[in-house]
């Protein structure tokens, strides 16, 4: 297990589109780890991840569609069991929320980076995930608070 402690297992999760693009802007933060990526919508995202990283495509779901939501939850739980990540990081939205919760349950350290699109307030999933995020981040300085969310920069 020595090797594992030197090379953390990282699970990076984002919905397709803007959330995924923002995760890719942060991918240098993960390099050197044992990486797995999770996305929705686009299977060809697997071509944009670092070499050697694993890729999972999960169901796209929102809170109105309980069937797809249930499917998404099952898929993510299976991925977390299989990956046993040391760190879970997400830029949103719903898949990231569940990944952080399940990751936390199994002892992972967790990072939430709220989308830069949320200029006025944290996203819904960003607000809900608060208790489960070790690093709870906004990309807007004016939304940062001493008790969180915190600000360390923005992807653009």
């Amino acid at each position: 297990m020595d090797n594992r402690s030197r090379r953390p297992r990282i699970l990076a999760v984002a919905s397709g589109g803007g959330h995924w693009m923002q995760l890719m802007r942060l991918r240098d933060a993960l390099l050197g780890g044992d990486m797995a990526f999770v996305a929705t919508h686009f299977s060809d995202y697997r071509k944009s991840i670092p070499p050697g990283a694993r890729f999972y495509l999960v169901t796209d779901a929102n809170k109105k569609d309980w069937l797809r939501g249930t499917l998404l939850i099952c898929e993510l739980f299976w991925i977390i069991l299989r990956e046993r990540p040391d760190v879970v990081i997400s830029t949103g939205a719903a898949p990231g929320y569940f990944a952080l919760r399940f990751g936390r349950l199994l002892g992972a350290r967790t990072v939430w980076v709220d989308s830069i699109a949320n200029v006025g307030r944290m996203s819904l999933s960003g607000r809900l995930v608060r208790r489960y995020a070790d690093l709870w981040l906004t990309q807007w300085e004016h939304l940062a608070r001493p008790e969180g969310p915190h600000y360390i920069g923005a992807v653009l």
Binding site: G17, G18, V111, L135, I152
Partner: protein, 164 residues
Amino acid sequence: MIFLTVGSQVPFDRLSRSVDAWAARNPQTEVFGQIGRTAWRPAAMQWAEVLSADEYLELLKRARVIVAHAGMGTVISAAEHGKPLIVMPRRADLGEHRNDHQEFTAKWLMTRSGISVVHGEDELQHLLDKAGTLAPPDGLGSESCERMVTVLREFIFEGVKPFQ
């Protein structure tokens, strides 16, 4: 080539129709629209409901100007590829989005180089007429992103938390 994209989630017919109307009046200009899953069909421009990530990238690279909703995916890829971007925010009161967060996003985008924000069809038509003169964005603000990457690396690989 003008490339319209409304994102992969929800159609945005108000914007798509407007771009198609411009395409009808300007047959000499190639226009391609990624219009989402919608019943409406363009009359003048080439179109697809949803593109793969590869097809999207291909069209993005070929485009002279990008027209889009105020989605971050498009904003980031337009900046990465140095393409002028015209943005129309979705409006919740017209059922185009769950909330008005794109209006807030658009207010911020207006302050960035290479991005023009329009709210109505007339404004969009006018801007498309002079699409050839629109300046490209300066690029991505990489300093702030690098700072973020550094802090995240410290947290992931050394367990350092920047806040207690």
